[in-house]
């Protein structure tokens, strides 16, 4: 079994295996990555860093592509409004 680590997604703790992307942590927490300009919830589309639909706030950094970022212990993730 690979090692586990915990991140915070919109204030809730989520435990994932090492090597899991932030996009997956958001999905496990049942949270949309961002809210679109007309207020729709959005999640990942391309999974390869092209579409920017999965962007969220990672450790305070805006517009981070969550499908291209691996979870690190203690990471704080927030959906982008």
């Amino acid at each position: 079994m690979s090692s586990q680590l915990t991140v915070t997604v919109n204030g809730t703790s989520v435990t994932v295996s090492a090597g899991t992307t932030v996009a997956v942590a958001l999905a496990l927490a049942g949270q949309a990555c961002r809210t679109s300009v007309t207020g729709e919830p959005r999640g990942p589309l391309c999974g390869m860093g092209v579409c920017f639909e999965c962007r969220a706030i990672i450790n305070g950094k805006l517009h981070s592509r969550t499908c291209q970022t691996l979870c690190e212990a203690g990471m704080e993730v927030k959906s982008e409004k």
Partner: protein, 432 residues
């Protein structure tokens, strides 16, 4: 601290390869084996491209393992998680990592930027859990639990079958694979597979893994529904509508080449593909291109084009010529692929007036319909002006309205302010 990182990030290569999929890896290996100092840069966290990435549960395929080993032996410099965004002067590229900035200088450049899925808008396609076929596969590869989930796989192209088989291996239930191509096109494609020994094995394996999953030709999604996330998808199957409850819709309409960087560097693109000569040279001296950007052809074509480009960029044209026959064979397969999965015009009628086409700026179909060109739509509606810079909506509007995207402007990816500042300084130096 930042300034120090910038200095450390300055590097010069005889041959620089952008893109670490099969084409880029093969190019880097062949050039480095000729004695050239070679660097390879990829946006993703690991090399291998979308096709070879994290195949760890079975180990890499035999072919992939061979190329990874050769890359290691040939001492190619790897830079992963790094994206090129600008060329401030000839022979220099600026690239950004998560916290640092690179100034990459090159003698010859090989562009192996790969392809992405083509997405077509239909009502509900912006709901969470509607993803690309390759998109959902990438999510599962990076930890998304899929066991026991119901996944409808739809769109077009051989990727659908590979993704459906992959998802089933990981415990997903796949009630249907909807392929827009007709049965006769699929049969022609199947017959072509039988002429390629390596592909027969893949085809037989796929058939075994997909036993019991209906493959519906002439079928496509007409609507995805759900409150906050996807709950069901409505399919048009040979003219009849049926609704299937599901957790995910994995939907992509074959592939479109990534030509943004080649275009930024001035390489000629026609009919959507980067133009190359027999040695994979683009219309810009010293810049080569290999793999999907020159025509969608799959991994075999990518590997042989990459090798030719690598050898040519290292000054070994004679050796490169020995691979021309192999490339011709792979190109014949690419032509069959192109014909078999050509999109049917009905797919252009899927969006309703309110369907969002540009997902970054939420521009609807009816807003776009009023405009005559991509440029006019961009100026009036902000279509294609969001962070993806039209990578999703430009191919869609090309299909829906026959619009052609205009020139590419730097940065080709959204870059940080400090990166743009360095770009400005380098441009000034180059001008002096």
């Amino acid at each position: 601290m930042k300034a120090e990182m910038r200095r450390d990030g300055q590097q010069r290569f005889d041959v620089l390869v952008i893109g670490g999929g099969p084409a880029g890896m093969a190019a880097a290996v062949r050039a480095a084996e000729c004695g050239a100092h070679v660097g390879i840069v990829d946006d993703n966290a690991t090399l291998g491209g979308q096709i070879w990435r994290s195949e760890s549960e079975h180990g890499p395929t035999e072919d992939a393992a061979k190329w990874y080993q050769r890359l290691l032996t040939a001492k190619v410099t790897k830079r992963c998680g790094v994206r090129v965004f600008h060329q401030p002067a000839a022979g220099v590229l600026l690239a950004e990592g998560s916290d640092d900035l690179y100034e990459l200088r090159y003698g010859n450049l090989i562009l192996a930027t790969g392809a992405r899925e083509r997405f077509l808008p239909f009502p509900g396609w912006t709901l969470p859990n509607v993803m690309g076929a390759g998109g959902l596969q990438a999510m599962v590869k990076s930890g998304l639990p899929i066991s026991g989930k119901r996944v409808v796989v739809a769109g077009s192209g051989p990727l659908l079958l590979a993704v459906a088989a992959y998802l089933r291996r990981h415990g997903a239930r796949v009630p249907m694979i909807c392929e827009q191509a007709s049965w006769s096109n699929l049969a022609r494609f199947g017959a072509a597979l039988l002429r390629h020994p390596a592909k027969i094995i893949q085809a037989v394996q796929l058939q075994r893994e997909l036993a019991g999953v209906p493959l519906a030709p002439k079928s496509w999604p007409v609507a995805a529904s759900g409150r906050e996330v996807l709950e069901s998808v409505t399919i048009s199957r040979r003219g009849k509508l049926e609704t299937i409850n599901c957790d995910y819709l994995a939907c992509g309409f074959h592939l479109v080449p990534n030509t943004e960087l080649p275009q930024l560097l001035g390489c000629q693109v026609s009919s959507g593909y980067v133009q190359v000569d027999e040695l994979q040279g683009t219309t810009v001296q010293g810049i080569y291109c290999a793999g999907e950007p020159t025509g969608i052809g799959g991994v075999e074509l990518a590997l042989v084009e990459g090798q030719i480009a690598g050898l040519a960029a290292a000054g070994r044209a004679q050796e490169a010529r020995k691979l021309f026959a192999e490339r011709d064979r792979a190109r014949r397969f690419a032509r069959i692929l192109d014909q078999a999965f050509r999109l049917r015009p009905e797919l252009g009628k899927l969006p309703s007036a309110e369907t969002i086409v540009c997902r970054c700026e939420d521009v609807s179909y009816s807003c776009l319909q009023r405009h005559a060109s991509w440029r006019a739509a961009k100026l009036q509606t902000r279509c294609g002006m969001g962070p993806c810079q039209g990578r999703v909506c430009a191919p869609a509007t090309q299909f829906l309205f026959r619009w052609n995207p205009d020139s590419i402007r730097p940065p080709v990816f959204p870059a940080r302010v400090e990166s743009l500042a360095l770009a400005g300084r380098r441009e000034q130096q180059a001008a002096q």
